[in-house]
Amino acid sequence: MGRIFITLVSLFVVVGGVLVFQATRGTSSLVLLPSELVTKAAANDLPRIRIGGRVADPISYQTEPKIVLTFNITDPKGGDATVPVVYEGLKPDMFAAGRDVLIDGDFVGGSVLAAKLQTQCPSKYEPVVPGAMPESIDKERQVG
């Protein structure tokens, strides 16, 4: 299609590829559930992980002298695995026991030091909370 066209496209394929590859290698984090983290980590520290789980008690939120939120997370689907989390930052909206959260951080010394904590946003696609509706609801609508 023309020399200039091919030159420019090739240039971008190479530059883009290198950029993406380098950035991926430098910033990717392992995605784990609490149960997977427990089996995988044992006594080792794991840097740069993303962990999704369900908030469990005890929850402690102190705002003096620093803002720190401590809680446990378990697998959303249930199970015994429990991982303690420490987050130095504001308690996100909708944060409560039983809510699902996404955490980015490092696993150090047996607990997750969270750099970023997000609760599931109450968007349109919120799963139905079991028990809040009459039993004869469409079974398909419920999310495990």
């Binding site: 299609m1 023309g2 020399r3 200039i4 066209f5 420019l8 496209v9 971008f12 530059v15 883009g16 950029l19 993406v20 380098q22 950035a23 991926t24 430098g26 910033t27 990717s28 984090s29 392992l30 995605v31 784990l32 993303r50 705002t63 003096e64 002298p65 620093k66 803002i67 504001l90 308690k91 996100p92 909206d93 909708m94 944060f95 409560a96 699902d100 996404l102 980015d104 970023k116 997000q118 609760t119 599931q120 946003c121 109450p122 968007s123 349109k124 696609y125 919120e126 799963p127 139905v128 809040a132 509706m133 009459p134 039993e135 004869s136 609801i137 469409d138 398909e140 609508r141 999310v143």
Partner: protein
């Protein structure tokens, strides 16, 4: 009333099916009856009418508090103001799909109305392909996410569950519809493109129509994406507006390819190049809108936006595969007519710069797509699920976006085909020097990080090129009309004559403003956490904050704890504003939310969040963000939208003058 809505939905499905099948059958003939073409046009409009009835049926149930319907029960309750009862229509998956169907069909109906002026050979297949979108989305709605279902219960529910409090604000009323108007509008260029391929009518007509309709959808999409960011900034309390979340990225992907398309179509219109390239972009853009909604509703990637994992994933994938396969087949079938008329002749031409622009935008698109899908890829190929987050997206996209800004300075200034070296030197020396001086000044003032300095310098460079173009245009126009270069009448004539060019300048200028704002709010943001008792003060930047007191308030459906904080200017201790950040508790849903106290200012935003209060109820723990130039982000976005409207909407008088000019061109040479 929902039986009526349900019936209307089924009717719409049937009509869309007729439109697709009949359109293809009629299009394959070499001679068509005009009555058939007109009937097809009306079918397209009828689909929109039926869907409108379906949407009205659902809306009626919301407004009349009909809690026998599951969807209404789930997202509405009696005490909600009526406006939120209406927005609750798209508060959940089912209703939002129905809204999507209606908006797609409405676009098709508008095209059908305008189509009486379009080239006849395109029409049958145009109607066929227009109706494929409503057909697909109605199929998904009808069989997977049907809002017209009763609660299967003998009880009549007295009240509903209600829309989540975080969604009960005005942004829920405007962000989804605006965003959807952007997404669904991109089905129209797709229909034009496929109609051209199927019918073989591959002249400039289809590309011209594609440009116009893409621009309309692009303007809505820009507005929708920015509204989402603005809403996140106001509501979510983390001081930012974009988190590279998969759902956010899903709205950005088609925006990137649509922007690329808007530039490369100009090359095809003028030079007859990049034909297959543009076809691919149109199909890719449409596929990305389908992919985006698939991503949001199928739950294949984790996001803070909660997903109901349903089975609709495979339906979307099947449709996506079908779209791409059909496009590939048709392009191969028509490859002879799609050969380029000529090749790019010089690196220093607008054609080359537009190609570069496309390549940068596609690189960003690829990078974002890679980042979104990386968990899926990594698990498939390595067995371990990995993800990338904000650091990845920033690492890749910051240099790419800055390259785009740089190209924005080059593209409009450079000539088509080949620019003379003397022009390049004249046009770019001063702006380059200006940018360089800005860089030196910034470093001397203490800003030494690489990307902020580069960003500001580039923006200044581009600004100077825009002004240079303006000056050259005005003096050329003044030469023609024998008027003064800087007089308003010269400017008015110039803008009227070259509305598209100067509308584009407005859009580019908006991008510049946004770039400066984003750079400032990212690089120079200040964050502080502190606790204050009554009468205590905290100083930061050019402000001081003093806690007056902590109050508790009871409202209809929530209880609130509010801190009253007095914001003063440090310079003269004058009171600027009383900020009232709140913590709200909704007993019904057992949820707490934060209400941010925000003071928008031309120099910076003061963004205050109440983290908590102590046991005595008198001391407040606060988190403060100072976001420099934040408000200019929204101003820049408004400029982009204004520019989009300027380019998209033809002035009637100008349209006639253009027609006359065209005819004159016919006769003269």
């Amino acid at each position: 009333m929902i039986e009526f809505g349900h019936f209307a939905l089924c009717l719409a499905w049937l009509l869309a099916l007729i439109g697709v099948v009949a359109g293809c059958l009629v299009g394959r003939r070499s001679h068509v009856a005009l009555s058939h073409v007109e009937a097809l046009r009306r079918v397209t409009i009828a689909v929109a009418i039926s869907l409108g009835c379906a949407l009205l049926g659902l809306g009626y149930s919301f407004v009349t508090n009909d809690y026998s319907i599951q969807y209404v029960w789930q997202y509405s309750n009696r005490e909600m103001p009526w406006i939120y009862k209406i927005t609750a229509i798209w508060g959940g998956m089912d209703g939002s799909m129905l809204l999507w169907c209606f908006l797609v069909a409405a676009y098709c109906a508008f095209v059908a109305r305008a189509s009486v002026k379009y080239p006849r050979p395109l029409l049958p297949f145009l109607y066929a392909f227009l109706n494929t979108s409503p057909l697909f989305f109605i199929t998904v709605t009808l069989f997977f996410t049907n809002p017209f279902r009763y609660l299967r219960s003998a009880l009549v529910m007295p009240d509903g569950n209600g829309l989540n409090p975080l969604l009960q604000n005005e942004y829920m009323a405007i962000h989804p519809p605006t965003l959807y108007l952007g997404f669904t509008g991109l089905a129209v260029p797709y229909a034009f493109c496929m109609a051209a391929l199927a019918s073989g009518h591959l002249s400039n007509d289809w590309i011209r129509l594609v440009r116009r309709w893409t621009l309309i959808a692009w303007t809505f999409l820009t507005a929708g994406v920015v509204l989402g960011g603005h809403w996140a900034y106001l509501e979510l309390g983390w001081g930012g507006f974009w988190a590279w979340d998969p759902v956010e990225n899903a709205s950005l992907l088609p925006w990137l390819t649509a922007t690329a398309l808007l530039h490369s179509v100009m090359v095809q219109e003028r030079k007859g190049m990049l034909k297959i390239w543009n076809i691919s972009l149109v199909v890719l853009t449409y596929a990305l809108t389908v992919f985006g909604t698939f991503l949001t509703r199928s739950g294949i990637v984790q996001s803070v936006h909660a997903f109901a994992s349903t089975d609709i994933g495979w339906v979307f994938l099947a449709y996506l595969s079908g779209i791409i396969l059909l496009a590939v087949v048709l392009v191969i079938y028509r490859r002879k007519e799609l050969r380029p008329d000529r090749a790019i002749e010089s690196f220093f031409s607008r054609e080359a710069v537009f190609l570069l622009n496309n390549l940068v935008l596609l690189s960003i698109c690829f990078a974002v797509l890679w980042g979104v899908m990386f968990p899926v890829f990594s698990e498939a190929f390595t067995g371990e699920k990995q993800t990338v987050g904000i650091p990845f997206f920033n690492a890749v996209n910051v240099p790419l976006f800055l390259s785009l800004v740089f190209l924005m300075g080059i593209g409009p200034t450079i000539a088509w085909k080949r620019s003379s070296l003397s022009h390049l030197l004249r046009a770019f020396t001063l702006p380059f020097l200006g940018g360089f001086l800005v860089a030196i000044a910034l470093v001397w003032a203490g800003i030494t990080e690489f990307y902020p300095v580069l960003s500001y310098s580039l923006c200044f460079f581009v600004l100077m090129t825009i002004l240079g173009e303006l000056q050259r245009g005005l003096s050329a126009q003044a030469g023609v009309t024998q008027s003064s270069t800087w007089s308003p009448s010269t400017a008015a004539t110039l803008f009227r004559r070259q509305r598209i060019k100067y509308g584009a300048h407005i859009i580019h200028f908006g991008v510049l403003v946004m770039t400066v704002a984003i750079t400032a709010s990212m690089a120079h943001k200040i964050e502080r956490e502190f606790t204050l008792g009554p009468g205590e003060r905290f100083t930061v930047g050019r402000f001081s904050l003093e806690l007056r007191n902590v109050r508790e308030e009871e409202h209809a459906n929530y209880g609130a704890v509010q801190a009253q904080v007095i914001l003063r200017s440090l310079k003269d201790d004058s009171i600027l504003e009383t900020l009232r950040p709140e913590l709200r508790f909704y007993p019904k849903n057992k949820e707490t939310t934060t209400e941010v106290a925000l003071r928008m200012g031309q120099r910076e935003d003061v963004y205050l969040v109440l983290a908590g209060i102590d046991e005595s109820g008198t001391r407040a723990s606060l988190k403060l963000f100072i976001n420099p130039l934040q408000v200019w982000l929204w101003y820049g976005a408004i400029l982009m939208i204004i520019g989009g409207i300027v380019v998209a909407v033809p002035v009637p008088r100008q349209a006639m003058a253009k027609q006359r000019e065209k005819e004159r061109g016919l006769q003269s040479i």
